[in-house]
Amino acid sequence: MTYQVASFDELERIPVMHGLEWRPVRRRFGIGAFGVNAYTAEKPGDWIVEEHTEERLGHEELYAVVRGRARFTLDGEEIDAPAGTLVFVSDPGVKRVAVAEEEGTTVLAVGGKPGEAFTASPWEWYFQAYEQPVEDGIETMQRGIEELGERGSLYYHLACLEARAGRLDDARAHLAHAIELDPFLREIAVKDDDLEEVR
């Protein structure tokens, strides 16, 4: 098969937070050259882009409102974004969030870091893992490590899930490895309820 086809409605629907539904595109097609995903919201008023910056990944992001209407907030500035609106956030430091204003609103997000070859982002694994039964989530994180290699955030979320499953020794070892790979994770770990028993 030299090509693949899907409609937005056929994409898997993975609930994330505040009504946000991640509709994986990159993973569905096995795209290796850029990050691309669609998002929908459970109902108007829910998140359609989760509040975040791109400081960790350094990505430029282009959001295209494909259907419906969204309201973006970029560093505090509100932007009305009916279907056909393109929101390009070049600065990874901009805090961005969007809510759906209408039923069926769909946003397509494309991302990548200028000057670097694209690699898939760890969040694609942990967003899914937290929505699964805990043992399946652990397997998802292990697959993420196999595919992406040594990434602090992958070991961190593996440790969180292992702690939830009561596998405290595994959780301690993986948390230590996560912090070794990415010392910034220590600050997050001290406030994370999942890790209460392993700190």
């Binding site: 030299t2 090509y3 693949q4 086809v5 899907a6 409609s7 937005f8 409605d9 595109v25 097609f29 096995g30 795209i31 290796g32 050259a33 850029f34 691309v36 990505h59 430029e60 282009l62 295209a64 494909v66 259907r67 973006f72 970029l74 560093d75 932007i79 974004a81 009916p82 056909g84 609106t85 393109l86 929101v87 390009f88 956030v89 070049s90 600065d91 430091g93 901009v94 961005r96 397509l108 494309v110 991302g111 990548g112 870091k113 200028p114 000057g115 670097e116 070859a117 694209f118």
Partner: protein, 217 residues
């Protein structure tokens, strides 16, 4: 430099059917454009391969209704359809079934930092030159491309078209063959194109031309 830009797709200045999103928003990490036609039955994505750029391409039908053809297979694509073509060798194109059909296209090469495609950088010069070519003003068309090559020296397509225009303008065969050889060096598939391209009829008997297009790829 602004930290973000917001624009409606309809407010981006079009170049015929091409809506140059990447250039307009100054995106550096991936290629992204849209194409729109107001005419049912018209081509909305031109027939092409990605052999030159080696891009994976994702097409998203934003409005209307398109019909893609990928390697001879037809794919019905109403608004909301995503078509991913991973193999750069695949021949792909799309026709609009409805006026206003709009297709969004994202592309980049896996494992490599994104670079703006030469065709995108030299679109203005290429467009002007093609217009003159269609008016059979071959020498003027060639002059535009000679200038463009100074600025975009790695564009195989510019060299190829320059060789075509020079051939039609009656330039000496050595000049034509020299530029065609540079096109083939940058993009070997141009050897096959040249074998079937009637623009080279004026130099077809030239021994150097024959040797160049008959060389094993």
């Amino acid at each position: 430099m602004s930290r973000y830009t917001v624009k409606h797709i309809g407010d981006i200045e079009r170049r015929d059917s091409w809506i140059p999103i990447r250039e307009d928003l100054d995106i550096g990490a991936f290629g992204v454009n849209a194409y729109r036609t107001e005419e049912a039955g018209a081509q909305v994505i031109s027939n092409h391969t990605e052999l030159m750029a080696k891009h994976e391409e994702l097409y998203v039908v934003l409005e209307g209704h398109a019909s893609f053809t990928v390697d001879g297979e037809e794919v019905d694509a109403p608004a909301g359809t995503l078509v991913f073509v991973g193999d750069p060798e695949s021949h792909r194109g799309a026709t609009a079934h409805e006026p206003g059909t709009t297709v969004f296209a994202v592309g980049a090469q896996p494992g490599a930092a994104y670079e703006v495609s030469p065709w995108e950088e030299s679109w203005r010069e290429s467009g002007e030159a093609m217009k003159l070519y269609r008016e059979q003003r071959y020498a003027e068309a060639a002059a535009i491309l000679r200038d463009a090559i100074e600025r975009y020296p790695n564009s195989a397509g510019l060299y190829y078209n320059l060789a075509c225009f020079e051939s039609m303008a009656g330039e000496d065969a050595a000049t034509v063959v020299g530029h065609l050889a540079q096109a083939i060096e940058l993009y070997p598939s141009f050897r096959d194109y040249a074998r079937q391209d009637s623009d080279f009829d004026p130099v077809t008997d030239d021994p150097a031309f024959k040797a160049l297009i008959e060389e094993a790829a």
